[in-house]
């Protein structure tokens, strides 16, 4: 049986959503009888986290080398390359998160193979195996195939469904990959956490985005309040970020983040193509704009023409009522 490795990433005690999505896909691959699937984790692994991953995989391989305790692109790519070679892996998957997108291309070079980055669909069981990835900011999709093994893929968060964990827990194996401190020539001096957003925009199910129509930084409180009721993450357009009403990490669009939530609510946003490119794969889009001709309405499922300063607070109130908060 061909070996598949799924690189699992976590935030504290929680596996990242993109990882759970791939683990869920991995289960289907295992059930097909064509693949044996292993989850791979590097760094500190708490008991809670371990349990959560083991509900999705028959085997979790934990890389325990000291140098892998903190993420570095060199360390992680070398470790995964060594293990992939040892197990003759045919496929290596990771979420298209900051970390996945950072080190997986290095892994591809180490293994003399290609990579399909930020895929949104996978036809794992077809021959040849194909993957779909948006290009030109989502104006077109490219279906790609590989001419070499292993196949390396990073998958855009929110592209696959997450299944319930199974009651049968897998086994855990500890592994030293042999990566040494000398092989890692970058040093993380410190990490500054600026925003305390619970969930990153790229992974959030629900997103509320504000544009220049919000008028001031303070007015974003209205969006924060709405987001709070439904557990959404707040985003912004580029001019909002450029005028420092919101942090750069909140920017959605071509030069910001690509988001793919279940629900995107946009308020006071005109719908410039650069913005649309970053949110067009959202499942449901609701736009609020006082201009009936705003372009964003061409890309929305639902639209309200009106003053956001009236509509947003009304929506927040209604939600509180409906959700009993």
């Amino acid at each position: 049986m061909d070996k598949v490795l799924i690189f699992v990433e976590a935030k504290g005690d929680e596996p990242r959503k993109a990882s759970l999505e791939l683990l869920s896909e991995g289960r289907k691959l295992a059930e097909s009888g064509q693949y044996s699937v292993e989850a791979v984790f590097a760094g500190k692994l708490s008991d809670t986290l371990k349990e959560k991953i083991l509900g999705y995989t028959e085997r979790l391989v934990h890389f325990t080398d000291q140098v892998l305790e903190h993420y570095t692109a060199q360390g992680f790519s070398l470790a995964l390359a060594a293990y992939a070679q040892e197990t003759d892996a045919k496929m290596i998957l990771a979420g298209a998160t900051r970390i996945g997108r950072d080190f997986m291309p290095r892994l591809a070079v180490l293994l003399h193979t290609g990579i399909a980055s930020d895929v949104t669909e996978a036809r794992w069981l077809e021959n040849p195996m194909t993957f779909v990835r948006p290009i030109y900011g989502g104006k077109v999709l490219a279906e790609v195939s590989f001419s070499t093994f292993p196949v390396i893929v990073t998958a855009r968060p929110n592209s696959f469904g997450i299944e319930e964990p199974s009651l049968k827990k897998g086994e855990i194996v500890e592994k030293q990959t042999g990566v040494s401190a000398e092989q890692v020539t970058t040093k993380v001096v410190r990490i500054d956490e600026s925003s305390q957003a619970k969930v990153d925009l790229t992974e959030a199910d629900l997103i509320v985005v504000g544009g220049r129509g919000m008028k001031t930084a303070e007015n974003f409180k209205l969006l924060e309040d709405l987001a709070e009721v439904i557990g959404a993450t707040v985003g912004a357009t580029r001019p909002v970020v450029d005028t420092k009403w919101r942090d750069q990490t909140d920017q959605v669009g071509k030069s910001g983040k690509t988001v793919s939530p279940k629900l995107y609510i946009g308020a006071g946003i005109s719908g410039a193509i650069h913005h649309i490119m970053g949110m067009d794969t959202s499942k449901v889009i609701l736009a609020i704009n006082k201009d009936p001709n705003a372009i964003i309405f061409d890309y929305a499922d639902y639209g309200i023409v009106g003053d956001l300063f009236e509509i947003i607070p009304a929506m927040t109130e209604e939600l509180k009522k409906r959700l009993g908060k």
Binding site: F103, V109, I115, R133, Y136, A142, K254, Y302
Partner: protein, 260 residues
């Protein structure tokens, strides 16, 4: 400080892109621009040179309009350029492109390679990291601040919900993210110089590559076909007074779409 910038000419973000030949080809409107993130890379290279002396060399791989990115680089103030123009270089995946660019960069000694976080045509975000790996160098991705001193760099990398401050020994590769700087507008003298400049070119042979290692032939990942993204049904307008419209929107999101 010898600084290499890898920069690419890409279709303008607003250019029309259409699928033709039954999914085998793309028709792209002939409007071009320097890749947004590569402009940050060029600007940063110039700023480092202004502070630490040295030279800036812009390298690009591509045919036709690709020379424009080099002229932009020269107009902004770059000292040298190299164009990988051979037909055989074209249509490569990230791997083939990075292999050729890494060979081109390594033709002369360098301290820093700067590239963009992502080329906004194929949206791969791979080449910088791959160039680093081909050359056995470290990289720092998504850089929003870069300080060079004593043969070392301290880079701030944008991460989810914050910044990671990374120290790295040179030579190293950095990929530029928005926020790194404000690219300058070329001065007239620069533009004049750029128009006249003879652009040196490199062929496969110059880089020690065989045709099987470059471009489409050297690609490990190939595009089978182009597909259209799913079209959304026409928008449904929610009407009424603000209170009513808001309530109706919430009803739809909860009861019909079931997304909340």
């Amino acid at each position: 400080m010898n600084i290499v910038v890898l920069a690419k000419q890409v279709p303008d973000p607003e250019a029309l892109v259409e699928i033709s030949a039954g999914g085998k080809k793309l028709e792209i409107e002939q409007k071009f621009a320097t890749n947004l993130f590569d402009e940050f890379a060029i600007e940063e290279a110039l700023r480092i040179r202004e502070k630490h002396a040295g030279k800036v060399k812009v390298i690009t791989l591509g045919g036709g309009k690709a020379t424009e990115v080099i002229r932009t680089g020269i107009a902004m103030g770059a000292d040298e350029a190299l164009l990988l123009e051979d037909e055989a270089f074209l249509d490569g995946d990230g791997y083939a492109t990075a292999l050729a660019l890494s060979r081109a960069a390594a033709k002369e000694p360098f301290d820093i390679i700067l590239c963009g976080r992502q080329a906004i045509d194929h949206d791969r975000g791979e080449v910088g990291q791959m160039v680093a790996q081909f050359l056995g160098l470290p990289h720092v991705g998504n850089v929003v601040k870069l300080d060079i001193a004593d043969g070392k760099a301290v880079a701030e990398s944008a991460i989810e919900g914050g910044k990671e401050i990374v120290e790295v020994q040179l030579p190293a590769v950095f990929t530029a993210q928005k926020g790194l700087n404000e690219p300058r507008v070329p001065q007239i003298m620069g533009v004049m110089k750029a128009m006249k400049v003879q652009i040196p070119k490199a062929t496969l042979g110059d880089l020690g590559l065989s045709p099987e290692e470059a471009g489409l032939k050297g690609s490990k990942v190939r595009i089978e076909k182009y597909l259209s993204p799913k079209k959304r049904p026409p928008m449904q307008l929610i009407t009424g007074e603000p209170m009513q419209a808001a309530a109706e929107a919430i009803r739809i999101l909860i009861d019909v779409e079931r997304v909340i």
